[in-house]
Amino acid sequence: MGIDLSNFAESIGGVDHGPLWIAGQQTRTPAPSQLRLVAAPAGIVDLQPDEMTVVCGAGTPIIELRTELAKVGQYVNLPDGLTGPGTVGGALAEGRSDIYRLGRGPVRDTLLQVRYVNHDGQVVTAGGPTVKNVSGFDLSRLLIGSRGQLGYFGETILRTRPLPQSSRWFVMSEASQTVVEKILRVIYRPASVLWDGHKVWFCIEGNPKDCAAMIQRISVELPVITEISGPPDLSLYLHRQSVPPRLLGDVVQENARSDSHKIIVEAGVGIVHHQVPPESTPIEKGVTILHRRILEQFNPTGRLNPGIEILASAPSL
């Protein structure tokens, strides 16, 4: 069972149909006003709990997917969106994970198959419908994070997972880097560990009895932890930076010294959430060359989402 993508493909048209833009809920990137807009089909078409897969239009709001999956005790590892609920297509096109990446893994592992429309209006299938598949090159992985520049996603097959039986958040004040590292070492596969240089918030998930036992154990070593209802509010932290996790201690220290703005880091992962745009990291020349070659192949006329710089403003090395 699949979505008929012919109308979607027609709305995109061939190379001679000019530049255009695909919009999700525009929570992340507002569509440029001068461009023709298209939107991906929405709706869940097939949900198979015993396959742990769901087939849906890329325009499906993530909230809708979450609600339907919760009814069968499952979830999909896509971010809800920071400034409002986004779409499946938007989340995949941005490729950014939410704060549970440490335990649940990156967004890129969620996509099994995508049927997208290419720069010339043709429908292309990437990946396969089953949870395991190595048939051909892994085009799906390349498309994640491509910000609409390699093709417009129409239908996706996503991998689902069982909802954790329990999910509990804790906080501890005056947490040093040593405390953060202890949490990473002692807790079995924590779902999230956030740190702002003073406070550490962490989430443990799984069997309720195991979670209780784990908390008892860590309480011996860190007696001042308090249970809270959920993660800290990150809605003011709209910008992010990616660094090797071993450097997070330095980043936090450096930030405290300059006292410019607040940051919250994802320990064990390496994401730094900023309130103002961080400095960009230089890009290796070889990486830039590969990007250019890929764009030449997939978006030769530049008509898909013109103006987007996949490598942001990063200077080349």
Partner: protein
């Protein structure tokens, strides 16, 4: 589409350049030496022109740059345990072995990652980090002998990839020598390097996008508790339904493997583990993690098994019994040698709910072609491994084996499955790609290849059926048989 470059036969000039770049002892040309490299663990033979053993990225770079200059195709090779002809050199290609690049470079136990060289054996990595309470999750049954470079190139899986994912989920970065000799780092220790996921695109590219010379792997915390359960059933259907039901119940065991009757008989005769040889199918289920979850899941899985008519439910009582049950699973290949001298192992994936239907069809196909088939496979992710066993001295047998294999692949894809779950496409399934992909799909994959290897000299003529291989520099050698 551009014209194919003129391929020169391996000439003395090229060989002397390779010798100057490495050292005479690490550039093999004697036929007795290079004959060993004419194929991988599949039945597909080619011919190596020369075999090089670089020690460093810089040496790989030199060899590849020389190949680029001579427009000479090259093939990366790990241990040659691949089953799809991926490492089979065509038409005298230069084989670049990573066997001597097998060091563990560094480990970060807090952030659970390690840098390694590509020739490191899969099991050696886990052995090196066991004392830190860590392991590398992908565990192909060949893990004692396959390299992590090979795992990356084939995006390999293994019995314990059900819960934790296949190789791609465990690789953070790859240093790669591209076909023009340039070196590039794809991905990084940081989680979201700017731009496209080039790391993800490279993994599973079967040596056709370049050679990885350094790999950053993610390591996993070892579990605190484990339970291994063997359940047996009087029908394959009951076993298959148990598999679906376990997943639908919201459990993802660490491993969920199935063996059918012929396999149980062969293995039992080989290792005497007390396996139920009169059962139609047995499931080997392993749950691991924290103690309460393991106890609760073991109980629930046993209940589900009973509900589907499991005759016996054997829970390993200690590490020795657990090891014995796994030995049964992992020695299946050795065990079949007692029945027939040769085997052809297939690898397709079907939706879990179609397991029984497709397995029944596999039995019918084998019967029609008068072949013996036994099944030992990753049932949890629907990854079938029908093993056709035969004696290749029987006249006309290979035709029957190939015909049956093709039918198995077709039946799997028609059931909503895919061509390969973990062994890759290589040469073996290259011409089946149109069963799953249309011309636009294949063109998109070929475009990836052109972007990474515009020269078309990195392991050409694999994976993509010929019309999609615009840039590849080689035709299939006459001396090759598939």
């Amino acid at each position: 589409m551009r014209d194919k470059p003129q391929v020169q036969s391996l000439n003395t000039q090229l060989i002397s350049r390779l010798r100057a770049a490495l050292d005479v002892h690490r550039v093999h040309t004697a036929s007795a030496d290079i004959d060993l490299y004419k194929r991988d663990a599949s039945n597909i033979e080619g011919r190596a022109g020369v075999v090089c053993f670089p020690l460093t990225t810089a040496e790989v770079q030199s060899v590849v740059s020389i190949c680029a200059e001579f427009q000479q195709p090259f093939v990366a090779r790990g241990s040659g345990t691949g089953l799809s002809g991926g490492a089979t050199p065509l038409d005298g290609a230069v084989v670049i072995s990573t066997a001597k690049m097998n060091r563990l470079i560094s480990v970060d136990p807090v952030h659970r990652l390690a840098w390694i060289e590509p020739g490191m054996l899969n099991l050696d990595l886990t052995r090196e980090v066991t004392h830190l309470g860590l392991h590398f999750a992908p565990d192909p049954s060949s893990q004692q002998s396959c390299t992590i470079g090979g795992n990356v190139a084939n995006n390999s899986g293994g019995p314990h990839c059900l819960a934790d994912g296949v190789t791609s989920s465990h690789i953070l970065a790859c240093e790669v020598v591209l076909s023009d000799g340039s070196v590039v780092m794809l991905g990084g220790e940081d989680p979201e390097p700017d731009g496209l996921d080039l790391r993800g695109a490279f993994i599973g590219s079967e040596g056709m996008f370049g050679i990885t010379t350094k790999i950053c792997v993610r390591l996993m915390q070892n579990y605190q508790a484990v339970s291994t359960i063997l359940m047996d059933f009087t029908s394959v259907q009951a076993g298959a339904e148990t598999v679906s039901s376990i997943i639908a119940w919201g459990m993802v065991p660490a491993a969920l493997e199935m063996m059918d009757q012929l396999c149980l008989e062969a293995v039992e005769a080989y290792i005497q583990a007390g396996l139920p040889t009169d059962a139609a199918a047995a499931l080997l289920v392993e749950v691991s993690g924290l103690p309460h979850a393991v106890t609760d899941d073991t109980e629930r899985i046993s209940e589900i098994g009973r509900a589907y008519g499991a005759r016996t439910i054997r829970i390993a009582q200690d590490e020795a019994e657990r090891a014995l049950l796994w030995k049964g699973r992992k020695t299946a290949f050795g065990a079949i040698a007692r029945i027939k001298p040769n085997y052809y192992l297939h690898d397709t994936v079907v939706p879990r709910r179609k397991l029984n239907e497709v397995l029944q069809e596999v039995y019918r196909i084998a019967q029609r072609h008068d072949l013996l088939v036994l099944n030992v496979f990753h049932a949890g992710d629907g990854n079938l491994h029908p093993l056709l066993i035969f004696d290749k001295r029987d006249p006309g047998i290979m035709e029957r084996v190939h015909a049956a294999g093709e039918e198995i692949v077709r039946v799997s894809v028609e059931a909503g499955g895919v061509l390969s779950g973990e062994h890759g496409i290589g040469l073996e399934k290259r011409d089946f790609m149109p069963l799953m992909f249309g011309p636009h799909d294949l063109h998109a994959q070929a475009s990836m290849r052109v972007a990474f290897d515009p020269l078309g000299i990195a392991n050409p003529f694999k994976v993509l059926p010929s019309p999609s291989q615009c840039g590849d520099a080689h035709d299939m050698g006459e001396d090759m048989w598939v």
